[in-house]
């Protein structure tokens, strides 16, 4: 895998962009790569569209990590990203000289890696100090077909990739998976394609003879996906919250693409995450904030990413049914 571990002769820092749609498994994949010692010496930059970062909690294996929260790095958060990258460039030629092997940017699921790459190339400082080494884009084997059919953004992400990695292949139907893989190679013929389960590389699905790629419809402008923040309170409320969220996901799982948050329960702090209707078994976080990577999580705040909602109605519904 062409990951630059040695410093480049021109002194520019390699940048790797890790992209993929919401819930594609970016943090999970990255966590395993870090565990295996890949990207050693890289400075991790984690971007989340919502104001409450949780992805950094998954990445305690990283040595250096910064979090860019409160704006997707390809649009609202772009000035922040560029400022952070410049600061990293300064550090890499100053006190940290020789100790940063490169920068790995884990984008938010709403980011178009192509726009980030374009912005970096346009910046007069960054274009001389950084070089885009690779764009890795993860594609969810379970939801990839649906995302490609319905979301402009999912297609833009795939088109921007140097390397495409199919995640969660074990849970997907083999024919659907083979069809998805075929469609990916039609959308982006230049990209290397591989598959990984929880970050561990696995073989690609066998090509099925006579299989046609997905018939992808032209996309119009649909309602944008936006993050919504819901304050559910620090003390308890887990029972009401899980009940309310499960009903909400059942009714609106197609519109709510992602839920994230950290909630207090009798068993400890839980990290809650969902992708459409699939809620992962909540992870219990250690109570000791020191054991976590990056800033401590904001407890009692849930972030819902989706369309067709409104923040006031969410808050009203939560007051009505949650408390």
């Amino acid at each position: 895998m062409p990951v630059a571990e040695a410093t480049r002769s021109d002194g520019r820092l390699p940048v790797i962009i890790l992209g993929g749609f919401l819930g594609a498994g970016k943090s999970t994949w990255l966590r395993h790569q870090l565990h295996e010692g890949r990207f050693a010496g890289y400075h991790l930059l984690v971007n989340e569209a919502a104001e409450t970062p949780v992805d950094n909690l998954l990445l305690s294996g990283a040595r250096k990590i910064s979090v860019l929260a409160g704006g997707c790095a390809c649009c609202a958060g772009l000035p922040d990203l560029l400022a952070t990258l410049r600061a990293l460039c300064d550090a890499a030629s100053g006190k940290e000289a020789g100790r940063i092997a490169g920068i790995l940017l884990e984008t938010s699921g709403l980011a178009d890696p192509g726009r980030i790459a374009a912005a970096m190339a346009e910046d007069p400082v960054l274009s001389r100090r950084l070089v885009l080494d690779q764009t890795l884009v993860l594609v969810d084997s379970l939801h990839g077909v649906q995302q490609l059919t319905a979301e402009d953004l999912a297609r833009a992400q795939i088109e921007a990739a140097d390397e495409l990695i199919l995640t969660k292949p074990a849970a997907a139907d083999p024919v659907t998976l083979a069809r998805l893989a075929l469609s990916l190679s039609v959308l982006n013929p230049g990209a290397m394609l591989s598959a990984a389960e929880q970050g561990v590389a696995v073989p690609l699905p066998e090509p099925v003879p006579g299989l046609a790629p997905l018939d992808l419809p032209a996309l119009g402008r649909s309602e944008p996906i936006l993050p919504y923040r819901l304050d559910v309170g620090r003390d308890g409320g887990w029972v009401a919250l899980s009940t309310w969220l499960s009903a909400l996901l059942h009714a609106r799982g197609d519109d709510i693409v992602r839920i994230k948050g950290v909630v207090r329960t009798p068993a400890g702090r839980l990290l809650l995450q969902s992708v459409r209707r699939v809620v992962q078994s909540p992870e219990i976080l250690p109570d000791d904030d020191e054991a976590l990577a990056g800033p401590a999580p904001e407890e009692g705040v849930i972030v819902l990413i989706g369309r067709g909602m409104d923040a006031e109605r969410l808050a009203l519904s939560w007051r009505r049914f949650g408390t």
Binding site: R31, H32, L34, H35, G61, Q198, G199, V200, W238, V239, A240, S242, T243, W244, S246, A247, L248, H250, A251, R252, V263, T265, P266, A267, L270, L271, L272, V279, Q280, S281, P282, E283, I284, L285, M309, R313, L314, L316, S317, R320, F321, G322
Partner: protein, 97 residues
């Protein structure tokens, strides 16, 4: 999950996480029943949990009854009985507060 790099995961339906001792689990079942019935009220449905039978029972006014194993199946059954999904953000659920 890679056993060397993961956090421990809570088993079962995700809504069952957050209670690890038997006492907490029983408390969670009864507290959950209240939360469920608050949501079901606008749709004329009622859930029941006796704390002993696994799962929950769902009742419709016409006498229809269904035993469901977890919350995901409860909302599916409620959608069948009510003819529409129980949506906490809908006008129907929020009406009459």
């Amino acid at each position: 999950m890679c056993s060397a790099c993961g956090f421990p995961a809570a088993p079962g339906h995700w809504t069952d996480a957050g209670a690890q001792t038997p006492g907490d689990r029983l408390r969670l079942r009864f507290a959950r029943l209240e939360a469920i019935n608050r949501l079901l009220a606008a749709y004329g449905l009622k859930a029941w949990d006796d704390g002993v039978t696994p799962g929950l029972q769902l009742f419709a006014p016409g006498g229809q009854r269904e035993l469901v194993p977890d919350l995901a199946s409860l909302w599916e059954a409620a959608e069948r009985m009510a003819g529409q999904p129980v949506d906490p953000l809908s006008d129907r659920a929020l009406a009459g507060g």
